[in-house]
Amino acid sequence: MKRDELIGCGIVFLFGGMTAVLSLQMPIGTFRMAGAGLFPLWLGILLMILSALFGLNLLFGKRAAPKTGEPVAPTPANAKLVLLFLGVTVVSMLCLRFLGYPAFCFLIMLLLLRILGIRRPVFLLGLSLVTAAGAYLLFVRFLKIPLPKGLIGL
């Protein structure tokens, strides 16, 4: 966890540094008439300072007891499943314009349900079809949202 947090801290530090460097390419102005770059420059520097302090605290300080309300980090039980879930979403999204909204809904539901463990083909196909039809009727027909029509033209 500490290693992960240090990596996260390093990324945030770099983000702050990058912000500061990019801000210098914008007009900085004066305090009286601040330019576009002044505020992000300060934020970049502040972020670098905060992340450096946090990093030092991680390396040399004692870990504080978690406060109430702190989110509990989930156990890394299904990293592959998360990647698969995201991958399917991204691939389906790439097909959205080509397939059109109803077919996209059917495809994404079918694939996501399948990877989450729904195996019975009739149930899988039926549920995907019903959800796609419901989403089409609600968003396209009822709410009149101009969602991509794709090949099918619906």
Partner: protein, 502 residues
């Protein structure tokens, strides 16, 4: 005071039109569902339904979106009691005694007391709002950019102090949010900032995409990340005839409800995740004042009545800083600020005089919404409980589909969906590393306001930073900020000193 009551009566006239009643009902139902369903919270719920309100008047739109917020608080308690899984963070504390009551076959009275307590607390909070908001708005008219800047800084520090595992971590995330908020056109000079020649980034980062990503997609991914066996859930469904509390239950709870309402109302006015803090504070108070503190944790009805009343009162009074100062102190009200702006209503001290229909209409609708929720939550509990029986492996893909579709409807842009998915991955990684997403969203929404206030203050003072300490209210907010920053340091020093003495 009489004037406020007259305005409230006219607000009821607005809120009780057929259309507004319908939107209030829709918001309350959607909020209850959002509170019940895993993978959706009030923030993602409100963000998802903003596009649905585009064709509505500002009053109807905010009535519906506000209904989602306080409706989610009602819904969240249902899962806490029946499933021992809090629907919202504000319902965590309800699990302790609520689920114990359900295990003892008293799920019905627990749910009923939640609904009745929330109704009473919500009603009292609304009356508090009616009498507190107008004088506060008058006082806020004296605020200049320096006061607004100091107040927003104070808000960030307090929010960062009370969320997450570390102040430094939360502050880092808030600054990241402020930086993301600078993307697009400079609000003062009109220069491009961090757009990298992309036309998509010219109008800035779409906050709805960030909200749905961080709070909707990230929640879905976190659920997928659980072991598959956890995707199934066992729920206690109470029978309709067991739903009503006894007279003794009501007698035991009434004190807790009133105390919870007071605590919640006060906490809702200050920065931070008010409903969450209010529930913890109320639980502690109830345990302290109880004649039988040993019963807490084993199914004490006051342990349900107090916190649930507190979270509802806090969520209603959180509208005061939003409407009167134009500054949201928590992410759900930050999303509502975005929705108000989309509908052309700029919240702030002038809102009451410039948009009395929105202000008083929404306040009156909250009372009606509370009544609708009371009616919904008692007889329909078995129905909502049955929704919980739908396996997560079916719910999660449906939520994902709704997030994608909802995001597209905001600007009819597929780029927004990519941004949402990216923010979802970011939110998921942040959860893994125990970073709180709330400060990021709040900073993203408030960032441009903060920057404008900062630059205007310096312009007006000819570049002198003394303006922030010369103006009394600004100084007051900065002193409060300093105290909030120093409290953890003092605590640490005192503990260290005590350890050495021991």
């Amino acid at each position: 005071m009489l004037e406020s009551l007259q305005h409230l009566i006219s607000g009821f006239g607005i809120a009780t039109t057929v259309a507004n009643l319908l939107y209030c009902l829709l918001g309350a139902i959607a909020g209850t569902l959002v509170g019940i369903l895993p993978g959706l919270g009030p923030i993602a719920g409100i963000a998802l339904l903003i596009p649905v309100t585009f064709g509505l008047s500002p009053t109807s739109a905010i009535i519906m979106l506000a209904g989602i917020y306080y409706g989610a608080m009602y819904g969240g308690s249902t899962t806490s009691i029946l499933l021992n899984v809090p629907g919202e963070t504000a319902s965590v504390i309800t699990c302790i005694d609520g689920y114990r009551m359900a295990q003892k076959g008293r799920a019905g009275p627990a749910l009923a007391i939640c609904a009745i307590g929330s109704f009473i607390a919500g009603t009292l909070a609304i009356f508090g709002m009616v009498f507190l908001a107008p004088p506060l708005a008058d006082a806020a008219l004296a605020f200049g950019p320096a006061e607004y800047f100091s107040l927003m800084v104070c808000g960030f520090i307090v929010l960062s102090n009370v969320t997450g595992s570390s102040l430094l971590k939360s502050l880092m995330i808030a600054v990241v949010g402020l930086i993301i908020g600078t993307v697009g056109l400079d609000p003062v000079t009109g220069d491009y900032r961090f757009t990298f020649d992309s036309t998509y980034l010219l109008s800035g980062i779409e906050f709805v995409a960030v909200a749905i990503g961080l709070f909707g997609i990230a929640e879905v991914l976190s659920n997928v990340d659980q072991p598959l066996s956890n995707l199934e859930q066992k729920v206690i469904v109470p029978r309709f005839r067991d739903l009503y509390p006894s007279l003794q239950d009501l007698k035991t709870s009434i004190g807790a409800i009133l105390r919870g309402a007071g605590i919640g109302f006060g906490i809702g006015l200050v920065p931070g995740p008010a409903p969450v803090i209010a529930t913890y504070a109320s639980y502690m108070v109830e345990k302290k004042v109880s004649d039988h503190p040993e019963a807490f944790g084993k199914g004490a009805i006051e342990g349900v009545a107090g916190p649930e009343s507190a979270n509802n009162a806090a969520c209603q009074s959180a509208f005061i800083p939003l409407f009167v100062l134009g500054i949201p102190f928590a992410p759900p009200t930050a999303i509502l600020l975005g929705a108000l702006m989309i509908h052309g209503v700029v919240p702030g001290p002038m809102m009451i005089s410039e948009h009395p229909d929105v202000f008083w209409g929404v306040i009156a609708s909250m009372y009606i919404g509370n009544f609708i929720l009371l009616l919904l939550n008692l007889p329909f509990v078995p129905f909502f409980a049955n929704i919980l029986r739908i396996p997560k492996k079916i719910l999660l893909p449906i939520i994902m589909l709704f997030c994608i579709t909802g995001m597209f409807t905001v600007n009819n842009s597929i780029d927004d969906i990519w941004l949402m998915i990216l923010c979802g991955v970011l939110g998921f990684v942040m959860r893994k590393w125990a970073y709180e997403a709330a400060p990021l969203l709040l900073a993203l929404v408030l960032g441009p306001k903060l920057e404008v206030a900062f630059r205007q203050s310096l312009m007006l003072s000819h570049g002198s930073f003394a303006t922030f300490v010369e103006r009394p209210f600004s100084l007051l907010f900065l002193v409060a900020t300093l105290i909030f920053l120093l409290v953890p340091a003092f605590g640490w020093a005192i503990r260290r000193w005590a350890r050495r003495r021991a």
